[in-house]
């Protein structure tokens, strides 16, 4: 046995010696010498440039401060300790006073402080790139100390540094956030994570189509939060569902954060271009949208396993439906945003109004769902849509020639719960009540008064306005459209019509259907009726 072992050891040694043969190492060392020479020459050239560079009347105090800050950040990069963090924080405080007037350095300092705070409070959560991001940011701050600072530190460089800092700041992750701390917990300063407008302007003009698409996206994110919250609460209360709770909690927090981020950006940093239309997508926004899409995709990946689990387990349909809806909406939104990133919001633009023509009133709705109804394109106010889906196979025959749609016909399976499928007031109804409710099926606004039937359209929308609900059968799948400010709105003068007005898209007049008029007291009742159960 000893002989075999010795022989084997010999073979190992031989193989390892062969693998790391000295010739290769020699070659490497020669290469290193050449690199060293290059480095030396480069350093020499840089030194000469530095000497020849004319020095402006920089504020000596700021420069000294910068040097101190640079040293402190370098020390921090060397070793992350509480003492080093405190030193950098102290110097940043002094820097903050130096840059009271500038918005960009202030934002940068805010982010640096936020990262330092995380590093001190939850070192295990801080990203490894943190010290490097701080170093980069401190260099840019240093540039502000030099003459011609604002030109030197361009918006792109600033944005890159800020993005680096943001990447290093960890996302909140619910329960998993509790980590060892170097000092008593102190909440990091809150600040909006808004992208910096190029050129430091107060707000950047973006195309109307893009702006309204983003606003619509905000509304959908809001709806998503509303879907997630009750399920998340249920998981929180139920023992054994902690894993699912963590998933939904993380997704909701991500969505909330994104909503906050873009809500702020839309409010403060971007505005709908007054002249309308041919504005390219700003690079900073494109970059930020890309990262937003990847966050939404991450959320989809998180929800998917839970959806599959509930989909495969019998009796879990109630939990499957909201997960499916969350996933579908997230996917839809990430597709929409990807299209925006590719500049496809241009399709929403129209030609500017001809000079001299009086501008009509703006459309009262921010986003619409358009579909083929009665052979023509009709738009529905998205805020009035309580349900969007298709006719279920088993209900198709039962719905033939019906004037009302019992809501229970929207169930895929007898055990499917309706409550989670609706938004707005219908979602507040009890399951028992929803099972008994039926809503009138609306005729299309075309010239022929033919009762709409499932054979004419596979897609259903349930509309609601105050306490009035109605269903429509559509021939095509509804598509979301964000309303551009440039589209002319012509209110309808017809009474008791479901057409609230027409949108003039330049070459096309699209009727917008709502229940607003028919829901008024003067209008004929289209109230949901309770059907006697057979």
């Amino acid at each position: 046995m000893a002989g075999i072992e010795e022989e084997f050891t010999g073979e190992i040694d031989k193989a390892i010696d062969r693998l790391f043969n000295p010739k290769r190492i020699q070659l490497l060392q020669d290469q290193n010498k050449a690199d060293e020479l290059l480095d030396y020459e480069q350093a020499n050239a840089e030194f000469n440039n530095e000497i020849n560079e004319p020095k402006g009347p920089a504020s000596s105090q700021s420069v000294t401060l910068f040097q101190l800050l640079d040293e402190a950040v370098l020390t921090l990069e060397w070793e992350v300790t509480l003492a080093n963090i405190n030193k950098v924080q102290e110097l940043l405080g002094i820097f903050r006073n130096e840059f009271q007037s500038g918005k960009e350095p202030k934002l940068l300092v805010d982010l640096m402080e936020q990262l330092l705070s995380v590093m001190a409070n939850a070192p295990e959560r801080a990203h490894f790139s943190g010290p490097a991001a701080l170093l980069q940011a401190s260099k840019i701050l240093g540039d502000f100390c030099k003459p011609g600072a604002s030109e030197k530190a361009s918006a792109h460089v600033l944005n890159a540094a800020m993005q680096q800092l943001r990447n290093a700041i960890p996302q909140p992750v619910g329960k998993t956030a509790a980590k060892p701390s170097l000092q008593p917990a102190a909440s990091p300063p809150k600040m909006p994570l808004t992208p910096l407008p190029v050129g430091g302007n107060p707000a950047v003009d973006i195309a109307g189509g893009l702006y309204s698409a983003l606003q619509y996206h905000m509304t959908v994110l809001n709806q998503l939060t509303a879907i997630i919250l009750p399920v998340e609460k249920l998981f929180k209360k139920t023992a054994g569902y902690e894993k699912f709770y963590t998933i939904l909690n993380t997704v909701r927090q991500q969505i909330d954060k994104q909503q906050y981020f873009y809500g702020n950006a839309l409010e403060n940093d971007y505005r709908c271009a007054a002249d309308g239309l041919n504005r390219p997508l700003p690079e900073t926004l494109r970059y930020s949208l890309h990262s937003h899409v990847s966050i939404l995709e991450q959320c989809v990946k998180r929800v998917m396993p839970a959806e599959k689990t509930f989909g495969n387990a019998s009796g879990m349909e109630k939990l499957y439906v909201p997960h499916r809806r969350i996933r579908e909406q997230l996917e839809k939104q990430s597709k929409l945003l990807s299209r925006l990133c590719n500049g496809q919001f241009r399709s929403l633009r129209t030609a500017p109004p001809p000079p001299g023509k009086a501008k009509k009133s703006p459309c009262p709705f921010k986003s619409l769902l358009t579909a083929e109804w009665g052979g023509r394109t009709v738009a529905f106010a998205a805020e009035h849509v309580a349900y969007e889906g298709s006719v279920v196979w088993w209900a198709r025959r039962k719905l033939s020639r019906q004037e009302h749609l019992p809501l229970r016909y929207l169930k895929t399976w007898p055990w499917t719960k309706l409550k989670g499928q609706f938004s707005g007031k219908l979602s507040e109804q009890r399951e028992k009540m929803l099972n008994k409710l039926a809503v009138p099926i609306l005729n299309h606004p075309g010239p022929f008064k033919v009762l709409d039937q499932p054979e004419n359209g596979n897609n259903i929308l349930v509309l609601q306005y105050n306490d009035t609900q109605a269903a429509v059968f559509l021939e095509s799948e509804p598509e979301s459209v964000s309303v551009s400010e440039q589209w002319e709105w012509e209110p309808s003068t017809e009474k008791n019509s479901i057409v609230a007005g027409h949108l003039n898209l330049g070459d096309k007049l699209v009727p917008v259907a709502t229940l607003e008029k028919i829901a008024s007291p003067a209008a004929p009742p289209h109230r949901a009726e309770q059907l006697p159960r057979k």
């Binding site: 190992i12 193989a15 070659l27 490497l28 290193n32 998993t176």
Partner: protein, 206 residues
């Protein structure tokens, strides 16, 4: 613990470069990566976890070739050395078959070396491994600093701090120039493969 695939006849040994922050662990790996033939080395990877927290460590697979029909592969890992990344360090050390402890000769880093070595011992114990039974070598890096005005420790001083009782094999190195890097790697590879073979392979399959 080495990964052994008896059907494919493959053995994967894990070697971890351990040491205080800034001691030159990643430089060791980069030097090896740039010097090795693409036929024997895989891609150097940065691995990201699925969760929100991102853990990074360097990973370099090397193929040793066939010994007695077994394809021997070595996977080199580094741990983040800084104090704040203790959890990650422990995680990377899981399943290690061999360790290269990279020490820093700067006088101001003396305590850090001792602290990090003690931490290595603790982390190995966490995985039921003993410092005395695991293949470990010491690498005294940055030896080029000895001639600079920066106060540095001599090899004897570092031996006294870290190797007084264990009497591990040690190597002087300048990882930025590739000096001592391959010597260390050779030694730890031999020790590790021998260790794995003796414990898991030799008796049963060879």
């Amino acid at each position: 613990m080495a990964f052994i695939d008896l059907i494919k006849k493959e053995v994967h040994c894990k070697i971890v470069y351990y040491g205080p922050g800034r001691s030159g662990k990643t430089t060791n790996l980069l030097t090896i990566y740039s010097a090795m033939d693409t036929a024997v080395r895989g891609k150097m990877l940065t691995i990201e976890t699925k969760g929100d927290r991102t853990l990074f460590f360097d990973f370099l697979p090397l193929n040793l070739g066939k010994i007695r029909g077994f394809n021997i592969r070595i996977q080199l890992y580094t741990v983040p050395g800084q104090v704040m990344y203790a959890a990650t360090r422990r995680l990377v050390l899981k399943g290690a078959d061999g360790v290269v402890f990279v020490a820093d000769p700067l006088v101001i880093r003396r305590e850090k070396n001792i602290e990090s070595f003690a931490c290595l011992k603790r982390n190995l114990n966490f995985y039921n491994l003993q410092l005395e039974e695991t293949p470990i070598i010491l690498q005294y890096n940055k030896q080029d600093l000895l001639s600079s005005p920066t106060p540095t420790l001599t090899i004897a001083q570092m031996e006294e701090d870290l190797n007084q009782h264990l009497k591990l094999k040690s190597f002087a190195a300048v990882s930025t120039k590739g000096i001592g890097v391959f010597e260390s790697l050779k030694e730890i590879s031999k020790q590790t493969v021998r260790h794995v073979a003796t414990r898991h392979l030799l008796t049963d399959h060879f």
